[in-house]
């Protein structure tokens, strides 16, 4: 009884004071679960097609998508900082990431998985095997290389020279597509010779410089395989400013945008970004539901030429209309 009296006095003062505090605290917004999707950069419009795929898949299941990335494609530190920030903030159902680098992202990704967050690696793999909550949804780079090799063979009618530019050792997928391209040429088109191979980066002026050096060393080159959008831009810029190279045909990867503004651009190998994005979201949803998912999925790319660039499939794969639901307008791009 004694204690109750004392307690009563304390409560009589504390409760009225506590109420406004509860009122104020209750007004703060709560964080909802969402899936973070981190492309290599949000500064290039090519990644908007991935945004389209993840938003569409998320919309179906009512999943919110967090979409952000560094402003440069080679800002590995930015991607790592973003992952760490998101993991620390919590409230994530999963992470989908297109890595800027095959090695440097292993630790932050493993750290996220250790926090129980499913992670889907998109496009190009990390140099670590998939396991449990770490799943790969990749572009079929072997097939991409073969598609490019067949196209170069078709342009050159089975005979000629080709240079491979933009070999970026940071991106495992780019290395694989280069090897696959060369392997098929050696195997099936022995009269087509790879006469030069150059390391590349995401820096367009640097790629232009490399292209200049390459063309200066081999002015009679028949074709060039460009393994990234930056290399394609640099090469086309060099050729555009030097009319003596106007006969060279270029087959490129990862177009940004999917357009044929240069007469030297023959074709583009296009990844199924929306498909990979949707697949990644579905995998995270299934992992959260406790379902078994394949640890590695590879999706076939397609060859875009002037003939099929207006096709429905190309428009869908390169759509930038990320808005889910009735807003969607596939025809904009």
């Amino acid at each position: 009884m004694l204690k109750r009296r004392v307690r009563g006095r304390i409560y009589r003062w504390l409760l009225p004071m506590a109420f406004p505090c509860i009122l104020i605290c209750g007004c703060y917004r709560q964080t909802h679960d969402r899936i973070a999707v981190i492309p290599r950069t949000t500064g290039r419009i090519v990644w908007e097609s991935l945004h389209t795929g993840v938003e569409a898949a998320g919309y179906t299941d009512g999943i919110r998508i967090y979409w952000n990335a560094p402003t440069r494609q080679d800002d590995v530190g930015g991607q790592i900082a973003l992952i760490d920030r998101l993991v620390a903030r919590g409230g994530l159902q999963g992470i989908v990431i297109a890595p800027d680098q095959s090695l440097a992202l292993i630790t932050p990704v493993r750290r996220a998985v250790a926090h129980g967050i499913p992670v889907v690696i998109l496009g190009s793999p990390l140099l670590t095997p998939p396991s449990g909550k770490l799943v790969y949804v990749l572009n079929d780079e072997e097939e991409a290389g073969r598609i490019a090799a067949r196209r170069v063979a078709a342009i050159l009618h089975g005979k000629g020279t080709v240079a491979i530019l933009g070999i970026n050792p940071d991106i495992a997928g780019i290395l694989r597509r280069a090897r696959s391209f060369e392997a098929l040429l050696v195997q099936s088109y022995p009269d087509i010779h790879v006469i030069d191979k150059r390391v590349g980066s995401f820096n367009v002026p640097h790629e232009q410089q490399v292209a200049e050096e390459t063309l200066k060393a081999a002015p009679h080159l028949d074709s060039i395989l460009t393994l990234s959008a930056s290399t394609t831009e640099g090469v086309l810029s060099t050729i555009g400013s030097n009319p003596e190279y106007s006969g060279i045909k270029v087959v490129g990867f990862d177009p940004d945008p999917v357009e044929f503004n240069s007469p030297n651009l023959d074709s583009l190998v296009l990844e199924n970004m929306p498909g990979m994005g949707a697949c990644a979201i579905n995998i995270i949803r299934d992992l959260q539901a406790g379902k078994t998912v394949p640890s590695r999925i590879e999706m076939e790319p397609m060859l875009v030429t002037r003939e099929n660039v207006r096709s429905a499939q190309v428009r869908q794969w390169s759509s930038t209309d990320f808005r889910p639901g009735p807003h969607r307008n596939w025809g904009r791009s």
């Binding site: 009122l23 007004c27 950069t41 908007e48 240069s262």
Partner: protein, 723 residues
């Protein structure tokens, strides 16, 4: 009393709720802080928060000297809803756009990493862009009025952006030709309702001045729509216009139609190869790279960096610009310099990310003229020459300096605490002109946003330790005071309960004893005198009842706290003697010595109870003729004495029933000294000495605290009997 307290508590609670609601209403007010004007001319931009870019005050403007994509600078309240923002705006490059943001929330670094609306001028397609960012991007484009010409860099425009309900409108005019106005309006059904205002640029630097943010109403929007109807010719959006006429809706962005074509020299070399150039004869070299610092101009490629002091010809450069530099090579100790150089912009790119190095690595000179990220602990800060701020850092075995220009950095300068661990991004310079040979290198920081505070000063600094000790003492004192208050509450509850029990005994037991006594007397008067045995039994019963009645009354007297309320302890005890003696022949003498002092209720109550017990013992067992009560006050103590001239008793004899252990226990509770002296035939004397805590003042509280801590270790002096 309880009702009054409850009422006070309820009123206090209601006031607290009203205050909380009032504060909340003020904080979330959609007009708080409006209208707002920039203070760039006064070099103040402290209340603007940057997300990317390098924002600095430049003259009467704020400048972003970076080609960063989606660099933002925000200010204001997240609860602003219907308002407009307008400013004079200048693009620094031709490859992107720059403009204004409103209703922005949840901002992060990243291209479209915020929720909000944006209006900007885009030079490469000559459009007024009205966009919606939601960690994704949709936009509506309106070509600029032909009378305004093509959007070009280094020309001032006036841009206004208004949001009212779900209608967003933007208008751009040329200060030199106000008639050439271009207006774009968008109806956004699922609109973003509120947020902060800000500045933004995308792949282009910019200058902003005369930024004004004010509340908007329907008329403001209507005026812009009317202006649009009067001036706009067409919209680029090919879809049918909405029912509102030329009002557009947001759509996904179309890819850029232009390709990056630029013509570069074919005789370029890597920056690192400049160091192989012969120093015997003057050599001209051409390099390509990205601008990492504009003043002084530093250009970096993947092999290293080169400084370009005072170029002979140079366009307006921004961080991230891809440039081609031709100049005369001069060899330095760790890098090269291109003098009398000509600089040409090839492409407006995104600034390169920094290379993270340790101070020890940077101190080797291998990263001279390169953009790096270094960590260090701040050792000193000072204002330097030429409107600069100079910092010195320690990092392991190395020390280095950092220099940045004032402006937005002033706020940072004042905020940074010595010994904080910082991470900085800047360009390493080993030139003694900067280092003054005091440190191996200095870091030239581009803006205040190049500094991140990783950790404040270590908490175990002398200042913090003193503060912590002070806080601990205050906390202990507060705890002590709270304990005292709770103890008082408890004591009051005990006394209330005792009083209730006294009333109960008085109303039931004592009354019953009195009744039984009357009944026994009535029986005795009705019994013949010869029945002696019965009379003897009745006498015995009457004695027992009388004795029990006295005991009950004594208990009532003991339980009643009448004396406690009295401030005069002696008066209370004296009254107690009178009550217990029931008008008998006991004489009471009282004596007080020293200046009467305020005694805490806990102590006075205990002294009163001991006094009561001693008086009761004397009256019941010693049959004294005189009881002397004395009270003595000194600076630190109060001493109560009770002396009688009764029978006394033999020390060491049977003490049960005298209540001595109870008195000792009571004295023990207040850490008082209890002494009892008795001699057969000469009476008994009891003396209780208790310490009086000094009043709590700012100067006395440490002493109180120490004595409080000591108190728990003190013991009552053992019972002492003198012969």
């Amino acid at each position: 009393m309880d009702r009054r307290r409850t009422l006070i508590a309820l009123i206090a609670g209601a006031l607290a709720i009203a205050a909380a609601l009032g504060i909340r209403a003020y904080l979330i007010s959609p007009t708080r802080g409006l209208p707002e004007r920039d203070a760039f001319a006064q070099k103040h931009a402290d209340d603007w928060q940057a997300f990317g870019g390098t924002w600095e005050v430049s003259g009467d403007s704020l400048r972003n000297s970076s080609d960063d994509r989606g660099a933002k600078l925000l200010t204001g309240s997240p609860h602003w809803n219907n308002y407009s923002i307008e400013a004079d705006l200048m693009l620094l490059g031709g490859g992107g756009d720059a403009g204004l943001i409103l209703r922005s929330s949840d901002e992060e670094e990243g291209v479209d990493a915020y929720y909000g609306y944006y209006a900007g001028l885009r030079s490469y397609d000559n459009n007024l862009v009205l966009g919606r960012a939601e960690y994704g991007w949709t936009e509506a484009l309106t070509p600029l009025d032909p009378a305004a010409g093509h959007i070009v860099a280094l020309r001032w425009y006036h841009l206004k952006l208004v949001a009212y309900d779900c209608q967003i409108a933007a208008a751009v005019t040329l200060p030199s030709n106000p008639a050439a106005v271009t207006v774009s309006t968008v109806s956004d059904p699922d609109c973003i309702r509120a947020g902060r205002a800000g500045l933004r640029s995308y792949a282009s630097g910019g200058l902003w001045r005369n930024v004004v943010i004010r509340q908007a109403n329907r008329q403001d929007l209507a005026a812009m729509v009317a202006e649009r109807d009067a001036t706009n010719r067409s919209a680029v959006d090919p879809r049918p216009a909405s029912a509102a006429g030329a009002t557009q809706q947001f759509s996904p962005p179309a890819p850029r139609s232009d390709t990056f074509t630029f013509h570069a020299s074919s005789h370029t070399q890597s920056i690192s190869s400049l160091r192989l150039t012969s120093s015997a004869a003057p050599a001209i070299a051409t390099i390509r790279g990205s601008v990492v610092l504009t003043a002084p101009l530093i250009v970096q490629d993947s092999t290293g960096g080169v400084s370009v002091p005072q170029p002979a010809s140079s366009p307006l450069l921004k961080l991230g610009d891809q440039v081609e530099v031709s100049g005369s090579v001069r060899q330095n100790d760790f890098s090269s310099t291109l003098e009398h150089a000509k600089v040409r912009v090839l492409w407006e790119g995104t600034p390169v990310p920094p290379v993270m190095v340790s101070a020890s690595q940077a101190a080797t000179g291998a990263f001279d003229a390169m953009f790096v990220e270094v960590e260090g602990r701040l050792r000193s800060k000072a204002y330097g020459p030429g409107n600069t701020l100079v910092f010195t850092f320690d990092a392991g075995p190395q020390s280095f300096g950092a220099i940045m220009t004032r402006g937005r950095a002033d706020y940072l300068f004042n905020k940074l605490k010595l010994n904080s661990l910082l991470r900085m991004r800047g360009v390493i310079i080993v030139d003694p002109a900067f280092t003054r040979n005091a440190t191996p290198f200095v870091l030239l920081l581009r803006s205040a946003d190049d500094v991140d505070v990783l950790a404040g000063p270590p908490w175990w600094s002398a200042r913090h330790l003193i503060a912590a000790a002070f806080a601990l003492l205050l906390l202990t004192l507060a705890g002590n005071l709270l304990y005292g208050r709770v103890e008082r509450w408890r004591l009051r509850a005990v006394l209330e309960e005792r009083e209730r029990m006294a009333h109960e005994i008085h109303d039931t037991l004592a009354q019953s004893f009195a009744g039984i006594g009357f009944q026994l007397e009535a029986i005795r008067s009705g019994i013949p005198g010869e029945m002696r045995a019965t009379h003897q039994q009745l006498d015995l019963a009457s004695d027992l009842v009388h004795h029990s009645h006295i005991e009950a009354r004594r208990s009532i007297t003991t339980l009643r706290p009448d004396g406690l309320e009295s401030e005069d302890l002696l008066a209370g005890l004296s009254a107690c003697v009178q009550r217990m003696a029931e008008g008998g022949a006991v004489q009471v003498r009282t004596a007080s010595h020293g200046e009467t002092r305020s005694v805490p209720p806990r102590i006075s109550c205990t002294l009163y109870r001991i006094g009561q017990e001693a008086i009761a013992n004397a009256i019941q067992h010693a049959h004294p003729s005189t009881i002397t009560l004395s009270l003595e006050y000194t600076k630190d103590i109060v001493r109560l004495g009770i002396r009688d001239d009764g029978y006394g008793f033999t020390p060491g004899g049977e003490m049960h029933g005298f209540g001595v252990p109870g008195m000792r226990k009571r004295a023990d509770r207040i850490a008082a000294q209890f002494e009892m002296t008795s001699t057969p035939g000469q009476g008994t004397s009891i003396c209780v000495t208790a310490a009086i805590p000094p009043p709590v003042t700012w100067s006395s509280w440490p002493k109180i605290l120490i004595s409080y801590l000591k108190e728990s270790r003190r013991h009552v002096t053992p019972f002492k009997v003198s012969h």
